[in-house]
Symmetry: C2
Subunit: 209 residues, 2 copies
């Protein structure tokens, strides 16, 4: 079993933190890049051309972070990171999805439509050239502002994103905040609840996994 | 317990089909629109302003289709629609996510950036005006073409999207194909595997739920 990885990228980080919280150690294979895209050998192995990807010993390739999380949560349930009973699981799934849709996807719009390294590669996983759209970067920036406000409100009445325990909703939200900082967007000063929470989760050893 | 709904929209349809497959009947509340947006009473109840949404008897509001699926899969496991053991669950989660990212989200780009009813509402859930981007509609069209090819390949060696049993990966993929048709994009003639599968899953009673 091994994980194909781009260590500094935000989606692989969602998996690294999860595995650190579970105390699971797995071989990591850094995927090399060709013109910014995953190398040809990797695309042949996994045509979706996304990282991270978990390869099982039988050769099965599993991409998409929530899919890899689910695999390990079944294999080693404790500590429970995808929720405990039905309502809790549903709320964790919802808030993790909101962090992804309202957060990571919006920061990625800013990043991929402005960064010089992503000219003609504005969407991941495609071999065809996809031009950058400056208007989409602006839409992304406005989305990130809404994300900060929404999660600040949620954290005004919750210790973690969903109630009193740490879950994958915290993992994705942390990755959004730190990814946004990398494109020059910091948490607003008045998002005091989000800032309190960010200090709390950043202090866990998993945050530097 | 009740579900807030827009009956003709593609995301609510992912839930209707799931509930029909489980044989679960629940009260549906059709959310009225104000200038195309969910009505103010609904946004007050559920500020994410998305449909469908499940309201529990204790007042908890759960949005995002995979979150609502998870709730009902825990409550009533059979028939299993989110996968059975760890590897299968992971593959179902992956293919469902691919159908959403490569499929529904791309068709939605075409729909929301071209349809006259969505001028200044190019993203769901936002109260602020979000202008349409014609270039994004074009990017969406190219993405839908890649989606058809990818799923046709997967279905060349699988009866259903993941192996030999019907899952949520089939549900989302069916909703993508039928949503694409509504924006004028039909399955290419040469996608014979996808067409074979589409006839198979469309014949299930749940498809008209």
């Amino acid at each position: 079993m091994k994980i194909y990885d781009w260590h500094a990228a935000p989606n692989p980080r969602r998996l690294h933190i999860f595995l650190a919280e579970k105390g699971i150690k797995i071989d990591l294979v850094e995927v090399d890049r060709e013109n910014g895209r995953p190398a040809a050998w990797y695309v042949e192995k996994f045509p979706h051309a996304l990282v991270p990807m978990l390869e099982l010993d039988d050769g099965t390739c599993i991409g998409e972070v929530p899919a890899i999380w689910r695999y390990f949560e079944q294999l080693q349930p404790e500590p429970r990171l995808l929720g405990i009973e039905a309502k809790d699981m549903a709320l964790v799934t919802m808030w993790e999805a909101l962090a992804r849709d309202d957060g990571i996807n919006r920061v990625a719009e800013v990043f991929r439509n402005t960064h010089p390294a992503f000219v003609d590669r504005a969407l991941p996983g495609s071999a065809e050239p996809i031009p950058q759209l400056p208007e989409l970067a602006q839409r992304g920036r406005e989305g990130v502002a809404r994300f900060f406000k929404k999660f600040d409100t949620q954290l005004s009445t919750n210790t973690y994103v969903v109630g009193e325990h740490y879950t994958v909703a915290d993992i994705t939200t942390l990755c959004v905040v730190d990814f946004a900082k990398r494109v020059g967007i910091d948490m607003p000063e008045d998002c005091v609840n989000l800032r309190r929470w960010h200090a709390l989760v950043s202090a866990r050893p998993s945050a530097s996994a």
